[in-house]
Symmetry: none
Subunit: 407 residues, 2 copies
């Protein structure tokens, strides 16, 4: 099956919005064996959308996925343009309009008249549900080509691809592609690749991709043979050891929350330079309240002393960014919240605040549990955002390894 993605939107062409929708759709569909042969982005203009569709109909495609322009505003012209392109008109769906009215009322707003456009249904063609918003999808068929039109709002588009488009593709593709992602953290890409170089060079029958980010390196294996993937995965994981923290899409914070649950432990956080990011990441996981009791953000010395009893002398002699301070912080937060584990992080995120001895990127973390206190020193080299992110990842990874080793 061959497919193309048509993105409609001035904001993409002006460079104000990065086209992450197209890459998400491609990545999501790639595993079905459906081949994406083209991404095309055109302005919010009837003429350009028509031209774009004409071009795409010249390819021998089976599927066009079109995003954008289904909102309630005047520049949302996709609905009307597509109806004209496929020579049809549309009917007003009073039931859906009443549903929308009720939805707006429940969040305390009167529905604006402009939303009316979202209740129209093409006479030749279908609509399909939007589990996350008011703009339903449109579904047209012509000359063996199926076109799905979806809103450009990412969470709405994703929910609709998962619920309607993906099952439709899977029904029609004979040889699916199998995908396995191995998620690693704690090693730079080049060092990681050296560890697996010999395995990668064997005749394993898989395509391998490496995707580094501030959170680590994901290794993505794809093949039409499930067995080839599982064999290669086993070899790679053996070579990579504890660098591997998850498979598929699971995030490190989910792994941490799961293993805390499994081992009947609770945790609390004392954050300085990460400013609440570790708490935020842990509480992104549904059900984290069973293991995460809370924490303190001690962004200045006074707060460190008042809330965590960090000694004045420790701050004076060793400084706020030191193993000694991290040590006292993790111990105190564990006691304060009566949790089985207390973790702490203190460092210099930048851009200001660095000195020769304590440069931007220097971070100390502490971990206290029933076995006592441990501290770790890290040195990161990114900007403020990246240093905060890497610090949070390093601390979460430390918790993961600690629980794993205790098993």
């Amino acid at each position: 099956m061959k497919a193309a993605i048509l993105t409609i939107g001035d904001e993409i062409l002006s460079g104000n919005t990065i086209n992450t929708n197209s890459s998400w759709i491609s990545k999501t569909i790639d595993s079905t064996g459906c081949q994406i042969v083209c991404h095309l982005t055109v302005p919010d203009s009837k003429k350009h959308i028509n031209n774009g569709l004409d071009q795409l109909f010249l390819y021998s495609l089976d599927l066009i996925l079109c995003t954008g322009g289904l909102g309630p505003t005047k520049d949302d012209i996709t609905r009307e343009t597509l109806c004209d392109y496929f020579n049809t008109t549309s009917d007003f769906d009073r039931n859906y309009w009443n549903e929308l009215k009720a939805r707006f009322k429940s969040i305390g707003h009167v529905i604006p008249e402009s939303n009316r456009s979202q209740a129209f249904v093409p006479k030749v063609g279908k609509v399909f549900p939007n589990p996350k918003g008011s703009a339903r999808g449109l579904w047209f068929e012509q000359d063996q080509v199926t076109l799905f039109a979806l809103p450009g709002v990412p969470n709405e588009m994703k929910a609709m691809i998962r619920a309607t488009v993906l099952p439709w593709i899977k029904e029609r593709t004979a040889v699916p592609i199998h995908v396995q992602t191995i998620r690693t953290t704690g090693s730079p890409e080049s060092v990681l690749i050296e560890k697996i170089n010999k395995i990668v060079e064997t005749d394993h029958g898989c395509r391998i991709g490496y995707y580094p980010s501030s959170l680590g390196v994901d290794i993505r294996l794809t093949s039409t043979k499930k067995s080839a993937i599982s064999q290669l995965k086993e070899k790679l994981c053996f070579a990579l050891g504890t660098l591997v923290y998850a498979y598929g899409k699971k995030k490190l914070e989910e792994i941490v929350v799961d293993s805390l649950k499994d081992s009947d432990q609770t945790i609390s956080t004392a954050e300085s330079c990460t400013g609440g990011l570790i708490g935020h990441r842990l509480t992104q996981v549904p059900g984290s309240s069973n293991v995460y009791c809370g924490g303190v953000i001690v962004y200045n010395d006074y707060a460190k002393m008042d809330l965590l009893n960090v000694k004045k002398s420790t701050l004076k002699i060793h400084g706020a960014v030191s193993a000694e301070t991290a040590w006292e912080m993790s111990q105190a937060v564990m006691q304060r919240f009566k949790t089985s584990i207390g973790i702490s992080v203190t460092g210099i995120a930048g851009p200001g605040g660095g000195t020769k001895n304590k440069p931007v990127g220097l971070v100390y973390a502490g971990l206290t549990d029933s076995n006592g206190n441990k501290t770790k020193k890290f040195m990161f080299s990114g900007d403020r955002n990246s240093n905060k992110l890497r610090s949070s990842q390093a601390v979460l990874n430390w918790i993961r390894l600690m629980i794993q080793n205790a098993k």
Copy 2:
């Protein structure tokens, strides 16, 4: 002047690499008045590149910017494909080859033979310099259309756009485009548009785009006339009033940190359902340590009572998610951190934890300062992530408005 961007690369179509090059080029060129009418991405295949070029030549374009496939490896086929497309062959540039050899030697490498392909120059057409790498750009002209081919490596591509392409465009475009973004929060897109509908329908001489997200709606005005933008901006801002929090790219957390600094105030946070996100956002702003002293993440009842002295009876009678609890939290955190303002947030982020009376998405916030305590109730309808994000935005916005009103 009209332009299109042609991206060549399997890694973009598979979704493994996000096409940030196209958005960077668009953004960089947008302000010159050159209009980008299309982004097209095709695979590393001669047939598909030819098809793509045929399509683009159907538009009445002045300029095609093509990226990718100029490296030294076997799948880098752009150079050869373009020479064939423009009916020309290429000559070996011995001087450039010697230069490349010397460059590799200076960094301690022997040049690989594969780099030889990068020393070829089209017979009809030109090359232009790459200040950051070995792949020079290619420059073709046909039927009034100029095509620049650039490598896909972002820092090389950017340097070449700045050094050669941008000056070339500026020489040929008389009227640059002016841009102004108005950032709003606190109102859904359709309700916001109703407020400005009459203004938008007048003959204001600007292009208007609306960009909604979980954080609010950005309104982007573009025009060749600076005065048209400033007149429209003034009218819109008058109609939108306090919904407008910033112009350009400034984030709400930056505005809040700035206004706290300006008014010599400090702040602390007591977070329940946002789990540290408000602290994280405030500490994303460099220099926030001057106004943000820290906070507590009180994720369970025990922490609320122990760290913030929330009364057991309050939790029993009104519940953790209530105006009363929010009230006690913000007051206590302000006193605890000795800040001028204390803010609090408690709610049900979902997906679990909702009841009939207190559904998922219900959030209470508290704000305490020298004038006393205030609380607010919000009802959000997103998933866990979106409810946390919207809660943090609503609280930051409340702080902004409070400081603004006190002026």
